[in-house]
């Protein structure tokens, strides 16, 4: 087109085109909703739109002016279309903002609670104990609740006339069958079946002829531990139990071992731990001593080992037993043992 100046008609058309474009851009940018935008689009770009009509009128131009005009029209169309889609974005965004604002809710209204039950607190404590001991290489074994007097007493070096066998303490089914009074019968049971090395814990339900009150129950639970191997020492019992207590109740809890007596261990120990309630300062729970009794323990008596076919000259072992119910009560601050067996759902929900 160089050198040629546009015809007068072309100049006029250019002016018109500019005016259409101006108007279009103005109207589009003023549109605030999708309807207005559509109206704009139809008005300018529709089949009968101003730009479409303008394009058709280009036939009136001299052929040499057409390429330039065509280009200008296309540019105008592109700009309008561009602005249309830009404005569409603006409108959509504004609409979304509006909707989000409208969708505001009161987040202080209570959540929709999905129902979930809970494990019994005794199970929770036991799970924790199992977890700790499994980490130390202990397996879990279980035994019968209705037990031979042999395993409950004789195999544990508790002689025929021992007061522990009294009917005041032990529930008898027959002269030879009892409700086990501790989880210890599973010590000889395990040692008869398994050759050392043995590392087990034995949780279970036990029975003693106690009337029901806040601290006594004829049905309760124990967790027994047994280790038999070459070279097991009293020091190992101390180390293992201390590790366990610190894991269950926290690093700040100390253990104290004092001599005691059980027929199936020798040396025997009573294990105390720092009172969880007062942290050792002394309180009602620990009777102002700062300590609470946690476990009876000791080195497995050589007669017990021997009876199970384990050579006490080669092997030694340790055992400990503790009350699961008592541990649970201490862990959660439960002050009445009856709550554990009453199963009020308002109690069970708290764990």
């Amino acid at each position: 087109m160089g050198g040629m100046s546009p015809t007068k008609g072309a100049v006029e058309m250019q002016e018109n085109l500019k005016a259409i474009l101006q108007n279009a851009l103005q109207e589009v940018s003023k549109s605030t909703d999708m309807n207005q935008l559509e109206v704009c689009r139809v008005k300018y770009l529709g089949k009968k739109g101003e730009l479409t009509v303008f394009l058709r009128s280009m036939g009136d131009l001299p052929p040499e002016d057409r390429p330039l005009m065509g280009k200008l029209v296309n540019e105008a169309k592109d700009r309008i279309e561009g602005l249309l889609s830009q404005q569409k974005e603006v409108i959509l965004r504004a609409q979304r903002e509006e909707r989000l604002k409208e969708e505001e809710i009161d987040i202080t209204i209570p959540g929709k609670r999905l129902l979930r039950g809970k494990k019994h607190p005794l199970t929770k404590t036991l799970d924790e104990i199992k977890r700790i001991f499994m980490g130390l290489g202990f397996s879990v074994v279980e035994g019968p609740e209705v037990e031979w007097a042999y395993y409950n007493f004789t195999a544990l070096n508790i002689p025929e006339n021992h007061p522990a066998r009294d009917v005041q303490d032990t529930f008898y089914i027959t002269d030879d069958i009892v409700l086990r009074t501790h989880t210890s019968p599973d010590e000889p049971r395990t040692m008869e079946k398994t050759k050392p090395p043995i590392r087990v814990i034995i949780p279970g339900r036990v029975y003693r002829s106690d009337d029901v009150d806040a601290t006594h129950s004829p049905v309760f639970h124990q967790v027994e531990g047994l280790v038999v191997d070459e070279g097991i020492t009293l020091g190992d019992l101390k180390g293992t139990f201390d590790l366990f207590v610190k894991q269950l109740f926290g690093e700040h809890i100390e253990t104290k071992f004092r001599p005691s007596h059980f027929p199936f261990t020798e040396p025997s120990a009573e294990i105390d731990a720092t009172c969880f309630v007062c942290g050792g300062k002394g309180c009602r729970v620990c009777k102002d001593t700062g300590w609470i009794e946690l476990s009876g323990a000791g080195m497995t008596h050589p007669k017990v080992l021997e009876r199970c076919g384990i050579d006490p000259q080669r092997y030694s072992g340790f055992a400990f037993g503790m009350g699961l119910d008592r541990l649970t009560n201490m862990k959660y601050g439960i002050d009445d043992m009856r709550l554990l067996f009453e199963n009020d759902i308002r109690f069970l929900r708290q764990f």
């Binding site: 979930r116 499994m134 020091g235 101390k238 180390g239 104290k256 007596h261």
Partner: protein, 796 residues
């Protein structure tokens, strides 16, 4: 056992406060339960040194004393004439409290200030009987020199602490003051003393007083020592003895009885004093009682005895029950002139059985039950007659009758120091061990690391090397043993399949909104009636407890339902709107009655729900549980059970086996448990679930081709079970039926009487190709045809 500390100090030098003593003994195995304070209340009374005595300017009979009480010099007015400069005396300071509560204040006496008070023995509530004459009157002049200002209770030993010990059953030798003194001596490494026994004068000969002593039952009476005291003068025992008896928990009676008790507390050997004149034939026979033989004991009660009881008899009748209680007839009274003192050892088990049957417990029987070492008998008898002589209670007759058929032998233990070190986890020398054991009165030879130990006979608990290890460990101090981590073979901690499954079941059931419960394993036989079980029902065959706490706890449960219903009832009756619970516990099924072998402990899951629930919400939970356990081949079958609603009960069938039963509780059962709403419950056998459960999970590929879903609604007879319709659809559709969902069961408007509308959504999919509408139409038509054939179902 109550041990007055001042009594203990007679036999062992304790130079520490009582708390430290108690802690030390506890940590060596002699456990202290409590420290009791039996002291008279005395405060702010200190030692004063008299510097100067001068006359009172305004009163002839008063003196002014200048007394150094440590931090200052006080002026004290006194009327006492026995105080001189240089004396050490007890001074009650301003604000002091004396026994009986009297309070001392600074005051003016005849114009001169008195800043305290000098005290007499009486004012300090001292035991006058134990004081020399010159100490009884006037101000108490202290012997020796003391630092002014020292608390007088320390200087005069006025502190009266009593330690309560809990002695373990293996140490009956510690059930005495001397036993504790010996233990304290060994632990504190200080010497302990035994009482010196010295009888100054004797008269006559015992054989002229006693005709004879016979033990007919050497299995039940190991030793019988007798002594005789003549010319008895019955009176109260001295104050000091009474005080000690009271502190040790016994009631003073008279000098003779008190001495027997005193010596028992001191030595651990129970003694009994008979009025010899009342012992028929002056003869003692230790024999079994005759069948229904009677005697009246000291407490005035008539006792009927039998051959299982051991008695101390005269030539005809029992005069005492061995180890338990003496007879009233031969009791020591004001009129008693001659005493036969018995110091004997009886079989503890026999004493226990007799005392238990007669409900007789005493300090004496307690010691016999734990085991009295027969070697004590003679020493204790001599100690008692010595005290009787000393206190002027009578004249000791020459001679002892001592029947001791089989003297207890000392034991020997051989063990290497190395073995002991290895059991405890310490490293000390044989010499150190020898030293510890010798403190416990053991004779030890240490040779090249081998310890050869002679155990004193009173230590009946020591038999083997482990027992020696315990002695070493406790004297070394359990707390000094280093905490170690086990060496040796590594063992892996594992859960059994049963435990894994139990964990999983609990997780699933908790996830389904159920709470775990724990209930007693024994119950009342009455529950079977509440559960409507007929007379001959197999669950009524139970494991029975011979000595139950009561009928309500007398059988081991054969069903978990009653416990479950009890818990539901507790919650329901506390106004809780709904609860969902489960328990996993064994049922105890006897293999035969009476039991000859252990019963079958069948682990069982019980379920119980009430509230916004129905049969289907229970069933749904069971379905989810079975699905989660990857149990495939299960179904529900209509069932009858007396405890359940006749029309709302199903058996859970896995494969061919009935694994459990679920349903609505029979209204009479709910009512029997005071539940006034519908209750849904069930029991499922754990081991059958374990057998059927698949622990392995195999992934199946996701479908490649699209599915077509068609809904159909058909009219069938009201009685038709939808389960049967579902079975028919699945059978006809074959493996193309991927999913079948019942979405509506409707009766009412637009449905003819006796009919119901059942609507299913059927998802069809092929593994080989994309199904087209024609396929779906054909299958649905086949299905409808078969439903028509089987149930007369019409498409709605």
């Amino acid at each position: 056992m109550l041990v007055p500390v001042n009594w203990l100090k007679d036999y062992v030098d304790i130079d520490m406060d009582v708390k430290t003593l108690a802690d030390t003994l506890t940590m060596s195995g002699t456990k202290v339960e409590l420290i009791l304070d039996a002291s008279q209340e005395i405060s702010n009374v200190v030692v004063g040194k008299v510097i100067e005595m001068k006359p009172h300017p305004n009163a002839d009979r008063l003196l002014i004393a200048m007394v150094d009480v440590g931090d200052r010099v006080l002026q004290i007015i006194t009327g006492a004439q026995n105080v001189k400069a240089g004396h050490y005396v007890p001074i009650a300071l301003d604000g002091a409290v004396l026994p009986g509560g009297m309070e001392i204040k600074t005051s003016k006496m005849r114009g001169e200030e008195s800043q305290g008070m000098m005290c007499s023995a009486l004012e300090l509530a001292m035991d006058l009987n134990s004081l020399s004459e010159d100490k009884k009157e006037g101000i108490y002049i202290l012997d020796g020199e003391h630092a002014p200002g020292t608390d007088i209770t320390k200087v005069l030993n006025l502190e009266e602490k009593v330690i309560e010990f809990e002695i373990t059953t293996n140490r009956p030798d510690c059930l005495s003051i001397i036993g504790i003194a010996r233990e304290a001596g060994a632990v504190l490494k200080v010497p302990y003393r035994k009482p010196v026994i010295e009888i100054r004068k004797t008269k006559g000969n015992i054989n002229d007083y006693v005709k004879g002593i016979t033990i007919e039952e050497p299995e039940l009476c190991y030793r019988y020592v007798a002594r005789v005291i003549d010319n008895i003068k019955i009176e109260p025992s001295p104050q000091w003895m009474q005080k000690r008896l009271i502190q040790a928990g016994m009631r003073p009676i008279n000098n003779i009885v008190d001495i027997t008790n005193y010596v028992m507390l001191e030595t651990g050997q129970p003694l009994h004093a008979f009025d010899l004149d009342k012992v028929g034939g002056r003869e003692i026979i230790v024999r079994r009682a005759k069948d229904r033989e009677e005697m009246v004991t000291l407490d005035g009660k008539k006792r009927i005895l039998g051959a299982e009881d051991l008695v101390i008899a005269d030539e005809q009748v029992p005069v005492g029950i061995a180890g338990a209680m003496g007879g009233e007839f031969s009791e020591i009274t004001r009129g008693t002139r001659t005493v036969l003192l018995e110091s004997a050892s009886f079989n503890g088990y026999n004493v226990r059985m007799t005392c238990k049957r007669l409900g007789l417990w005493s300090e004496a029987s307690f010691r016999f039950v734990r085991g009295v070492y027969p070697g004590l008998a003679e020493t204790a008898a001599n100690r008692a007659v010595m005290l009787m002589e000393q206190l002027g209670a009578g004249e000791v007759v020459e001679g002892v009758i001592d029947i001791y058929p089989e003297p207890v032998k000392t034991k020997h233990v051989e063990v290497s120091s190395d073995r002991i070190n290895r059991l405890i986890g310490i490293d000390i020398t044989a010499e150190e061990m020898k030293d510890m054991l010798e403190r416990l009165e053991m004779a030890v030879k240490a040779d090249n690391g081998m310890l050869s130990i002679t155990v004193p006979a009173f230590r009946q608990d020591i038999e083997v090397d482990y027992d020696i290890a315990e002695e070493i460990a406790r004297l070394y101090g359990y707390n000094n043993v280093p905490k170690t981590i086990m060496e040796g073979s590594w063992v892996q901690g594992k859960k059994t399949l049963k435990e894994k499954l139990e964990d999983q079941i609990k997780d699933v059931l908790c996830g389904l909104g159920l709470y775990e419960i724990q209930t007693y394993s024994f119950e009342s036989p009455g529950v079977f009636d509440k559960l409507r079980l007929p007379e001959e029902h197999h669950l009524r065959r139970t494991v029975e407890i011979k000595n139950p706490l009561g009928e309500e706890y007398s059988i081991m449960r054969t069903t978990l339902l009653s416990s479950m219903l009890n818990v539901l009832s507790i919650n329901y009756n506390r106004g809780i709107k709904g609860a969902g619970l489960y328990e996993i516990a064994p049922r105890f099924i006897p293999r035969e009655i009476p039991l000859k072998q252990l019963p079958d402990e069948k682990l069982t899951i019980s379920l119980g729900i009430y509230g916004d629930e129905d049969f289907y919400s229970l069933k749904g939970r069971v379905e989810v549980l079975l699905d989660e356990l990857k149990i495939r081949d299960y179904s529900f079958r209509r069932a009858q059970h007396p405890s359940y609603h006749p029309g709302r009960t199903a058996e859970v069938v896995i494969g061919e086996e009935v694994a459990g039963i679920i349903g609505e509780a029979h209204p009479d059962v709910a009512k029997a448990y005071q539940i006034d709403t519908r209750v849904y419950m069930g029991e499922i056998d754990f081991s059958l679930l374990m057998e059927a459960s698949q622990s392995e999970i195999k992934y199946s590929p996701l479908p490649k081709y699209p599915a077509i879903t068609r809904d159909i609604a058909v009219l069938v007879d009201k009685e038709t079970e939808v389960g049967r319709i579902a079975e028919a659809i699945e059978e006809t559709g074959g493996e193309l039926v991927e999913k079948l969902e019942l979405f509506d069961v409707y009766t009412g408007k637009q449905i003819p009487d006796g009919k119901k509308s059942v609507a299913y959504s059927i998802t069809l999919r092929s593994k080989e190709r994309t199904l087209v509408d024609e396929d779906a139409n054909r299958i649905v038509k086949d299905i409808l045809d078969s439903l028509m054939d089987l149930f007369g179902a019409k498409l709605r």
